[in-house]
């Protein structure tokens, strides 16, 4: 049960961490989030096929997605900060172009690379060790976000920029660079998600779509603060889903999770982090 919980938690957190920054903090409705995940996965698999060891390939996958994220921010997203609904259209268009482009360029599927071996047994059940790596990856992603945004000068700049860009600029914060880097970190985290899940999944150009519902749901429930929101949202939704999955299978698990989401945003319109921050005051 704990293992199942960790598994669902890892899936929610990893798919949502990048979006939490891009959508939760920066307010960009990034419909191309799934494509950054796909990018991380494809780079990872491509490098493994080229003979790289898996962890190094995963690192490269993450970095590649991050760098592309910075470029996309500077080329496209930058123009849309004051027009959030247009950013939805622009990123959605980007997502369509990328999926179809990948389909044409690399074909409809790529050979998988296989999950690193290793399993352990508890009673009658056997589990894959790699799933624990995913869980560790989720915790590491949260830790990384915490350190970057709470413990560095860049983090202070970033939070200031998100709250009041004009004031931040007046105080000498390089606003443009902060936006680009934040978006890049968000995209990089999405790439990390793809890189980590690449060995366990079918690789197709539309694979990002399997993550996108979960990621938006987690971020919306979490609210604007990555640490106070996304992590508790992940715990809550994972608990709901795991219990229902075990009780009556995947369909009920999925339905139950989405109902829980509707209830939560009805009761806490600002998400969990909004609720927690208000309580603190």
């Amino acid at each position: 049960m704990l293992y199942q919980f960790a598994d669902v938690f890892a899936f929610l957190i990893l798919s949502a961490a990048g979006l939490a920054i891009v959508f939760g903090m920066m307010g960009v409705i990034n419909m191309a989030h799934g494509e950054f995940i796909m990018c991380g996965a494809y780079v990872t698999v491509g490098l493994v096929h080229a003979g790289f060891p898996l962890p190094l390939a995963q690192l490269c996958g993450t970095l590649a997605a991050g760098i592309i994220g910075v470029i996309v921010e500077m080329a496209i997203v930058r123009k849309f900060y004051t027009r959030p609904l247009d950013s939805l259209l622009a990123t959605w268009g980007l997502s369509l172009v990328v999926t179809q482009g990948m389909l044409i360029l690399v074909g409809s599927s790529v050979a998988g690379i296989g999950t690193p071996p290793g399993s352990f047994a508890v009673g009658d059940y056997t589990f894959s060790v790699y799933r624990l790596v995913l869980f560790a990856g989720a915790l590491a992603a949260l830790g990384f976000v915490y350190i970057i945004f709470m413990r560095t000068k860049f983090g202070v700049h970033a939070r200031a920029t998100m709250q009041n860009a004009k004031m931040a600029r007046a105080l000498g914060v390089p606003v443009g660079r902060v936006y680009a880097l934040s978006f890049g970190i968000g995209a990089g985290l999405a790439g990390l998600c793809g890189a980590l899940y690449a060995p366990t999944m079918t690789l197709i150009p539309t694979m990002g779509a399997t993550f996108i519902v979960e990621s938006f749901v987690t971020v919306v429930v979490g609210g604007s603060n990555v640490l106070l929101g996304t992590a508790p949202a992940g715990i809550l939704l994972a608990a709901v889903r795991t219990t229902l999955n075990a009780w009556h299978g995947q369909i009920i698990g999925q339905i139950g999770m989405l109902i829980a989401v509707i209830l939560i945003i009805r009761i806490l319109p600002e998400g969990i982090s909004g609720f927690l921050t208000r309580k603190q005051r």
Binding site: Q4, G112, T210, Q250, I251
Partner: protein
């Protein structure tokens, strides 16, 4: 000036009418409408279907066409969206005025366009293996059906591995009805279904499912999960060392999972198929050579692509037999019981009562290195189930889909 303009309009109108009423020449092309996904979640499967159709059309046109008429193939990509299937089926039948419509991947897409085709007199050919039971005067099915796949494989699996089976199935009509077939056959053979799990399309995480399977302790698993996302099950089950035998009506020959996943994810998978690329008869080798010459980048010639190729030859045979492209005339040829072609698997014939196709079925098994070997050859199996429950399209025009729990009223 005015008079001249009016005259020229009249003249123009006359010449248009003349063009419209001109007799159609024998050299007019035969139009084949094709609906196959080459983007979306099922693009992996749809691309070989398009390629198979293109290959058949090219070969037939080079050899002089159908009754001297060239084939014009009009392909549209519904992108896995059932609403687009309907829109495009309407467009092909009413605007393009195709002579025949071929295609559809999922059973959901087939059921979406069947009512539209039923309002026309244009024949429709469905080219996938499926859950069986469609008794429709306007439809010809050339893929394998449960009496060819499940009635052969399930008894084999129960005899070889044991009587307890766990089912993971995609949650739509194909998965639900296939699971129903499985329940019926397992019961007949004195076994038990120890668990059934229906999975929404698009789900890619299976840790809980794997644990449920281990809890139920089955002897083998029936895997009729569909789509690229759900295929992640194999990788995750292998990583968790589930290592149970698996049986399926759609894996290997259809989704070529053994080529897409790193070994040994598909170890101990068995399937019964009329076609898989590993068949090595001389006819099959010749067919594979022609295919790979035209499409050198094809990973695997799957059974859907193969069926799509045959469909056009079957249509040619019907039209040449009937000397007409009208559905009623084609059905007269089917009613003779001699609507056969020589396909790469051997001779295949359309059954008059159900308008489904006979196939030579083989049981294949995958080993830990993902090599495929033929375990058993069942010979030619007729699609007998629909006739046995009272579907007879030579006597009564029906258009319903029947299942083991939903039989026609006597």
């Amino acid at each position: 000036m005015k008079l001249r303009t009016r005259l020229s309009i009249i003249a123009g109108a006359l010449s248009v009418t003349a063009a419209l009423t001109a007799p159609t020449f024998a050299a007019d092309p035969i139009k084949i409408g094709l609906l196959e996904d080459i983007s979306g979640d099922l693009a992996v499967l749809g691309k070989p279907k398009l390629n198979g159709s293109l290959l058949a059309v090219e070969e037939i046109n080079k050899a002089g066409g159908i009754m001297g008429r060239q084939i014009e193939l009009i392909h549209l990509d519904p992108q896995g969206d059932n609403a687009r299937y309907q829109e495009f089926a309407r467009r092909l039948t009413s605007k393009d005025k195709v002579d025949v419509l071929i295609g559809g991947i999922t059973s959901a897409s087939r059921e979406a366009i069947r009512p539209i085709m039923n309002r026309t007199t244009i024949p429709y050919i469905y080219t996938n293996q499926y859950e069986g039971g469609v008794c429709d005067a306007g439809m010809i099915s050339n893929g394998a059906v449960p009496e060819q796949q499940f009635s052969t494989m399930i008894p084999y699996m129960m005899e070889k591995f044991g009587k307890k089976v766990y089912v993971i199935a995609a949650d739509y009509n194909f998965g639900q009805i296939s699971a129903e077939w499985n329940r019926m056959i397992v019961k007949e053979q004195g076994g038990t279904v120890v668990g059934e799990e229906f999975i929404p399309l698009g789900v890619s995480q299976f840790a809980q499912t794997i644990q449920n399977i281990q809890k139920a302790k089955p002897d083998w698993i029936l895997t009729i999960n569909v789509g690229a996302a759900q295929d992640s099950f194999f990788e995750q089950a292998a990583a968790a060392k589930l290592n149970l035998p698996m049986g399926s009506s759609i894996k290997i020959m259809l989704g070529f999972e053994h080529k897409r996943f790193a070994p040994p994810a598909l170890n101990r998978m068995q399937a019964v198929a009329n076609w898989f690329e590993e068949i090595d008869t001389p006819e099959a080798e010749d067919f594979k050579k022609r295919w790979h010459a035209k499409f050198p980048n094809e990973t695997y010639i799957n059974d859907m692509g193969y069926n799509a190729y045959n469909a056009i030859y079957q249509y040619k045979m019907l039209v040449e037999g009937a000397k007409s492209t009208k559905l009623a005339d084609l059905r007269k040829v089917i009613a003779t019981g001699k609507a056969c072609i020589n396909a790469p698997e051997g001779e295949i014939c359309i059954d008059p009562k159900s308008q489904h196709t006979s196939h030579r079925m083989r049981l294949i098994a995958v080993d830990e290195k993902h090599a495929v070997k033929v375990v058993k050859d069942y010979g030619v199996i007729q699609p007998y189930w629909l006739a046995s429950i009272g579907c007879d399209l030579t006597k009564k025009n029906d258009k319903k889909q029947y299942t083991p729990s939903d039989l026609p009223k006597k």
